[in-house]
């Protein structure tokens, strides 16, 4: 019973006159207080210590991409794609212009590592229509280009495993398998030999057959057009 009474008292309890006055005094300043909070918040933005914001993908994502070997594409795969005229990829040579002029893969585009993020090279890298395959002499510089582009969040980036050195030792000048090797090695050798013929290597044993159809002209360079990625604007208004 006494509890009930006490509860009733609690709920019907009215603030004392002093309390009411105090509250009224504070609430009469409510707009000034709100204005002050407003200024403080706006001033806080000015005073906050500024820091360099991280652009592109998160560091955890970058690490997991970097440690995964998924980005590598083998020279055999690339040779196969080039021979079959696969239109779904762009070859990017990240070596210097001089080396590029000396020798490069057919239809490769030269974007030296220093010019990677130039205005004219971005449309090739930051797009989603083609796979981008980086290559250099080894895959060292190509990996660097891959890392920089991946960091900025570009999609569909690959690296030619072993670069042009491996290209020469596997496709252009494949090693002849010795007699004690398995049959797959001979098949692979046959495929590579055929590919190297496609890329203009001449073998003595085909001399008799191909006497008349020798052509030293390199494969014609096809023009790869890349559409600039258009950002779809989010429409808004009053």
């Amino acid at each position: 019973m006494w509890l009930e009474k006490k509860l009733k008292k609690c709920f019907t309890h009215k603030p004392y006159k002093m309390d009411k006055k105090k509250i009224a005094r504070v609430t009469s300043f409510r707009y000034q207080i709100l204005a002050l909070i407003f200024i403080l918040l706006a001033g806080g933005l000015v005073l906050l210590p500024k820091y360099q914001k991280q652009e592109g993908i998160k560091s955890e994502a970058l690490l997991s991409h970097a440690t995964s070997p998924e980005r590598y594409i083998s020279t055999d795969q690339i040779a196969n794609k080039i021979i079959n005229k696969d239109p779904s990829f762009i070859l990017i040579d990240v070596r210097e212009e001089e080396s590029f002029k000396n020798y490069s893969l057919p239809n490769a585009i030269n974007i030296p590592l220093a010019k990677l993020f130039d205005e004219e090279s971005l449309p090739y890298l930051n797009q989603s229509q083609f796979d981008v395959v980086f290559f250099s002499n080894d895959h060292f510089y190509a990996d660097q280009a891959w890392m920089l582009c991946n960091r900025r969040g570009f999609k569909n980036l690959r690296v030619l495993n072993g670069g042009l050195n491996t290209w020469f030792t596997t496709i252009i000048n494949p090693e002849k398998p010795s007699q004690d090797m398995p049959a797959e090695a001979f098949e692979l050798y046959a495929t590579r030999k055929a590919s190297s013929m496609y890329f203009g290597v001449f073998y003595p044993d085909q001399q008799a057959v191909a006497e008349e159809s020798i052509s030293n002209t390199p494969a014609p360079k096809k023009v790869i057009t890349v559409q600039k990625k258009k950002k779809k604007p989010v429409e808004g208004g009053c």
Binding site: L41, A42, L45, V46, L48, P233, G236, C238
Partner: protein, 197 residues
Amino acid sequence: MGPLIPNGLIPMEWDSIIAIIIGIAFGFVLEASGFSSSRKLAGVFYGYDFAVLKVFFTAAAVSVIGIYYMDYLGYLDINQLYVHPTYLWAAIIGGIIMGIGFVAGGFCPGTSLCAVAIGKLDAWVYVGGIMIGVFVFSELYSFFEPIYNGYFLGNITLVDSFGWNPYWVIFIFSIIAIVAFVVSDVVRKKVKKVFYS
């Protein structure tokens, strides 16, 4: 993290539904705070009611402060937000026309629809005028097109084009807002009161 829809945290398909919900809430708040009365809106120009000025100034300042805090804390990427493109002369001429319409009719397009919803006759006339305006513009589109599509400056902001520090701009903007509120209160006390429903 944000904005939520472009970053895929909310699927694209939801945006119309979210727009409808926000629209209903916006309309409700406009009507509930008396913005469906043309006298309240016209009060800004005659000096007896500054609610419109206060509401929209506060809304702009609060949201800009909130957005920059969220950007600072990494919840929102300001660069991904949509900036309305600027067509310089189209904006100037459109602003003048809208301003004249605002004073004369006592509505802005949003509040006029609110007032239509509660059956105000002047709002019906006003929206009818908007429709006629839309019709005339569409019929004469080829004549207006050079202005409509010309003088395009891209999605520019004051901060980008003048190279200002956004934090100082916000701070000064907030002070201007508070000064404007104080001045408008002083003006309102001097002007004769107008009673309306």
